[in-house]
């Protein structure tokens, strides 16, 4: 008898610490499945950010380092340059990556660091209680934007894939939504591709995952998926922005 479906070995056999309905849990699982499928569990170093996703410390059964807010790509750079034989991953949220860590992600991408960054974008600061993020949609309410985001004061939501694709070095830049099973499948395939790019020494890959936050969006889990379909995916286009062959400097 063969197991057709089982818990990934790269995840601890414990309950998820994310809120009910949170797609971080889905992302956590597919990343672990991707690591398992590539046989990289014992060869991975995972760099965690500050935010809800810091809970990866108690989710993934992998060598892990917690970094300062926004600095994961710099930390990953130091690790990868010293251990080029290991697979180095970053998992960052939008408050972390697109706000305080903007310099680090853009510079690591432009340097073509041979790392794989997975970016969970739920358009809000979740861990700190629902403050406006750079990715908060126009009109979306937040605890620091009670009447909804007003571009006159705060500009428009930041599109990270669209920024990063402009650099020459990144090998793979793509955005997926975890709202549907097909989106989850595509995202997992893209994560595997980003990991393979690194293992083959090609250079930087960036995979953005649209996620939700029922708790700070003040919706139930299904309501949060409706919001994603109606608004998030309309603004953040899900597609492959760059898929380049070869090593970036060649």
């Amino acid at each position: 008898m063969t197991d057709l479906y089982q818990r990934p070995v790269s995840i601890f056999p414990s309950a998820s610490s994310y809120c009910p309905g949170c797609l971080h849990a889905t992302a956590t699982k597919i990343i672990a499945e991707a690591i398992d499928e590539l046989g990289q569990k014992d060869n991975t170093i995972f760099v965690l950010p500050v935010g809800c996703s810091t809970q990866g410390l108690v989710s993934w059964d992998l060598d892990i380092i917690g970094s300062a807010h926004g600095r994961a790509p710099a930390v990953a750079t130091g690790i990868k340059r010293c251990r080029p034989d290991c697979m180095v991953l970053c998992y960052q949220g939008d408050g972390d990556l697109a706000s305080i860590g903007l310099a680090e992600i853009l510079s690591a991408a432009n340097r073509g660091e041979n790392i794989t960054v997975i970016f969970a974008n739920n358009s809000i600061f979740g861990m700190t209680g629902g403050q406006m993020a750079p990715t908060t949609l126009v009109g979306q309410k937040a605890t620091t934007a009670r009447d909804g985001r007003d571009p006159k004061n705060t500009g428009f939501p930041l599109k990270m894939c669209e920024l990063i694709k402009e650099f020459e070095a990144p090998r793979f830049v793509a955005r997926y939504s975890l709202r549907t099973p097909s989106g989850v499948k595509q995202a997992k395939a893209a994560i595997i591709k980003g990991m393979k790019n690194q293992l083959e020494g090609k250079g930087f890959s960036f995979i953005e995952l649209l996620t939700n936050c029922p708790t700070t969006w003040h919706t139930d889990p299904l309501g949060s998926l409706d919001f994603m379909e109606k608004y998030t995916e309309k603004y953040f286009e899900c597609k492959v922005f760059a898929d380049r062959e070869g090593r970036f400097w060649e």
């Binding site: 410390l57 970094s67 300062a68 600095r71 710099a74 930390v75 750079t77 130091g78 680090e104």
Partner: protein, 358 residues
């Protein structure tokens, strides 16, 4: 031993390489630029990595990552850049990661002045980031001592799994002296494999976690750091004491200021002044015992001389003396250097004042 005529900054960089440092990330700032410039070509020669970070903050976080793999890692900067790095230094301490941080200090506060100064003492000894952690801080006063202390710094960092700071200033960084260079060490990052990230040779072990966050157990960490600090005070103090046997006046100075003071002391002793010196080499742990053991029946005054106004080390001197002996201060700041003529006049004035009161 290899003898060379070298600039302080370059000698420091070479000593770090010879100590086995194989990862450097830094950002341009005067007066420490010779360190990254030297390492940008020197590290690749020995199979190491040099990165010019996009910022001071990115650089310290690259060091944080490199250190987590067991590689000897280092960054350098000057006051304004060290301020930016302090978040990362606090994280290094919390995550129990060894590293070497070099401050080639300049005038402050703010952008201050690119000229040499000693105004980073308080930051280096008491405030390298939030949360109440401390670093061993070495303050050499010659290019040879820069080499010797840099060469040994990683051993302290790895023993304690905590960053170590070397604090010099723009004079020592730019000054050329002849130095004996130690032999090349080749420590393997595998020596740190009991805690570092990344398995070696497919070893079977549980996952390693390096974390600056403590949901529980933070008080225990704070307590262990406190105990470690007490151990430093007991075992790791470095200090140079000079002519304390007959001294009626004791000058205290560190780094480049102590070189000027040494000249003044030698000249004034020839004229019959009984002057001695206490030169802290570790600014933290501070050589409290050297001050505690001064005989207040014999020593009439302590004169603290720094390139900082007001004196910053003077606070630790007063705390160690506990009011038993009067402490006077003299110094320049903001890029104005001390010279032996000014210092001699200031010391003579203080001595005249004290003698006049007796």
């Amino acid at each position: 031993m290899e003898k060379r005529f070298m600039k302080g900054n370059e000698a420091l960089a070479e000593a770090a390489v010879r100590a086995g440092m194989r990862f450097f990330a830094g950002y341009p700032i005067t007066p420490q630029n010779e360190i990254p410039e030297y390492l940008s070509w020197r590290l690749p020669e020995v199979g190491g990595t040099f990165i010019q970070g996009e910022s001071e903050i990115a650089s310290i976080n690259m060091v944080y990552g490199a250190a987590s793999t067991g590689v000897r890692a280092m960054t350098s900067s000057s006051g304004p850049g060290i301020s930016l790095k302090t978040e990362g230094i606090s994280y290094l301490s919390a995550a129990r990661l060894p590293a070497l941080i070099v401050d080639v200090s300049r005038g402050g506060p703010g952008l201050g002045s690119i000229q040499p100064a000693q105004s980073d003492y308080l930051q280096a000894t008491k405030a390298l980031g939030h949360g109440g952690h401390r670093l061993i801080v070495f303050a050499p006063n010659s290019v040879q001592e820069i080499v010797d202390l840099t060469y040994g710094a990683f051993d302290y960092a790895e023993r304690d799994r905590n960053p170590v700071m070397i604090l010099i200033d723009g004079v020592l960084g730019a000054m050329m002296e002849s130095v004996e260079l130690p032999e090349m060490k080749e420590p393997s990052p595998k020596e740190q494999s009991s805690w570092s990230l990344g398995r070696w040779d497919g070893e079977a072990r549980k996952a390693h976690i390096i974390s600056p966050i403590y949901e529980a157990g933070l008080e225990g960490l704070n307590r262990s750091f406190g105990e470690r600090t007490e151990g430093w005070k007991e075992n790791d103090v470095k200090v140079e004491e000079l002519y304390l046997d007959d001294a009626e006046y004791v000058i205290t100075a560190y780094g480049i200021a102590s070189r000027v003071c040494r000249q003044v002391i030698e000249n004034m002793r020839k004229k019959g002044y009984k002057i001695g010196m206490i030169r802290p080499i570790t600014l933290f742990p501070f050589p409290e015992k050297s001050f505690e053991s001064l005989d207040n029946g014999k020593v009439k005054a302590i004169i603290d001389i720094e390139m900082a106004i007001p004196g910053q080390m003077a606070e630790d001197v007063r705390a160690s003396v506990k009011g038993r002996i009067p402490v006077f201060e003299y110094g320049h700041s903001g890029g104005v250097l001390l010279d032996d003529f000014d210092v001699k006049n200031a010391v003579t004035d203080i001595i005249d004042k004290v003698e006049g009161e007796q």
